[in-house]
Symmetry: C2
Subunit: 359 residues, 2 copies
């Protein structure tokens, strides 16, 4: 396992984006979002995605120099056209607008169309924490998940994220895919030659499977809840909610029409919208009660849950975002571990763009 220093990695990613035609400032922000994923242990959404973004830029599906425009607004409700730009940029830009609206009105919401994948949702939600606001973000994604009682890929793994400020404790950051398991987990199982648990995927024919290659063989992911008894209509409902907020009400694509992340698959014909969509915003907790009171109560909430009785004495109950926070501290000190496939990707990209490898 190779490790790399976070600052060095960020610098290299930034250079890659500059080589692709990004401005220095835009390259820096995009690199920050990716490295934050690697630092927080969401390895599937960090530098591992970089070559995918580059291929989309080279195919003219991502505009390296977008002009973001607010095309419609009603005070707290703002619509942003991302001009085919990368979500790594349009989402933080939108959060800035949402934060400004929240200064003015107590809350603020941005719906984005004509965008591309935005990396980890938590990066964007957490921008609100600096202002003691609650941050919220969602995005739709290309279809890999079946509806409950269905056997067709109709929804993405469609994550939602809420970040809530605290006083002494680590902020609460729930960042979750609405599928039982995201596709990254199947890829890891395949790499390790392991089977996957029942309840993550079904085959093309709709049969249960423990084959890690289920998706590659035309199968699909299951919504959170996995099956009828497990309440998979709820996971389906959550994924649908994210799709509607990100795609339907923003004018982006939705459901089966969300364009694929992989550059070798073309978008479907006759799309009902523009690009991929996101939904982001903030609430000012100071609007309900004094914010210091709320932050202190958040500390109490966290301490209470952490001190509740664990199933296994060696594994205390965790708070959403706690592991990611811990990993970030650790990886800042010890470096970011990279699996061989990602190292190879980095070497190839360096060669292709005629840049020195950071490894």
């Amino acid at each position: 396992m190779t490790t790399i220093n976070a600052t060095a990695l960020q610098h290299w990613i930034s250079e890659v984006f500059i080589q692709c035609g990004f401005t220095a400032e835009n390259a820096k922000i995009s690199a920050q979002v990716l490295v934050e994923a690697d630092l927080r242990g969401i390895d599937s959404h960090g530098v591992a995605r970089l070559s995918g973004y580059v291929r989309l830029i080279q195919k003219n599906r991502i505009n390296p120099n977008p002009n973001f425009t607010v095309s419609h607004r009603k005070k707290t409700m703002i619509h942003l056209d991302a001009d085919s730009g990368i979500g790594l940029l349009s989402a933080p830009y939108a959060m800035k607008l949402a934060i400004e609206a929240t200064h003015d009105f107590g809350s603020g919401w941005v719906g984005i169309s004509n965008s591309n994948h935005f990396g980890i949702a938590s990066y964007h939600s957490m921008l609100a924490l600096e202002h003691d606001y609650i941050g919220f973000s969602m995005t739709n994604a290309s279809p890999l998940v079946t509806p409950a009682n269905g056997k067709q890929r109709m929804l993405g793994t469609n994550p939602m994220c809420v970040a809530i400020p605290t006083n002494q404790e680590t902020p609460f950051v729930l960042d979750m895919a609405t599928a039982a398991a995201a596709n990254g987990k199947l890829e890891i199982a395949e790499r390790e030659n392991k089977s996957i648990p029942n309840g993550w995927a079904i085959t093309k024919e709709g049969e249960n499977t423990t084959d890690a290659r289920a998706l590659k063989n035309g199968g699909m992911l299951l919504p959170l809840g996995s099956h009828k008894d497990g309440g998979f209509h709820k996971g389906y409902g959550l994924g649908a909610w994210v799709d509607i907020f990100s795609g339907v009400i923003t004018g982006a694509n939705f459901g089966p029409w969300v364009p694929p992340f992989v550059s070798f698959l073309d978008p479907l014909p006759n799309l009902p919208g523009n690009g991929i969509g996101h939904f982001l915003g903030c609430w000012d907790i100071d609007g309900f009660q004094d914010k210091e009171t709320s932050k202190n109560k958040m500390d109490l909430w966290i301490q209470t849950l952490k001190n509740s009785i664990p199933l296994d004495q060696n594994h205390p109950v965790l708070i959403p975002g706690e592991i990611e926070h811990y990993l970030k501290q650790k990886r800042i000190e010890e470096g970011i571990p990279l699996v061989d496939a990602v190292c190879l990707d980095i070497e190839q990209l360096s060669k292709q763009l005629n840049m020195p490898s950071p490894l």
Copy 2:
């Protein structure tokens, strides 16, 4: 199975609330919320709950004549003190405030403390649909659910609901508990002398169980996802989100301190907040793009999902809220079916309050 006409039931429930000291107007609204649950097939939250509310009123834990006050506000963020009133009233009152704020600012949010159980979340969210707004509602509830990797009751079944307007199609209404299964499902299994699926509950000792009496024997419900492989940290995160929005940032109680619905259990000592809390609000979809466009796209989204390939040809893919909408039409025509236990409850309540029985 007895059936009862919805209007007759609503009239009788309204009289019960008047007998308990409600004003005629407040009694009418409260009865409407309960009957809507019975019409929509959420039988556990309709007239079946009425005797429970009456006992809380008789024990002075619900104030029959509350004075709702806005105690704090920052434009779109409004805090409501419900004066120990019933949630069946405070929640629709709050939605009115949220709708007014949305008229003015494009969105509006109300955090409620010092309240009591608010019935079905969907009643409140759906109030927004009349204005072509998206409605949102959550409430915390007394602790029955363990955190992921825990074995202690720390969270309620904490529902969340989002209602989204359409044009021709039935509105999208996702109304879901964040536990794998709500306790009503265990009660039905117990009544029918059936076992429950693995993944709904664990025993007091943290063991898996299929015993429908698990909760009564000191066990607890599991979060959506049911177990580690199923992603129960996500269900736990969702339940936590609802608890924090409803209780922590509103000044209501939260976690293990949320007061029990049953009148024979007293609230814990040294409560950190006031009563039960709710969080409600709206977004004006017209703030992103012309609302007719969004409503037409919602129709397309719904038609697309409904026409996707089902697992079983006889059971098409459903849209959240579709079954409830269908049941409502059916029950308006054919009457509301009542199980024996609920009929007995109605007879006893009529006798106790010296009213003619509606059955």
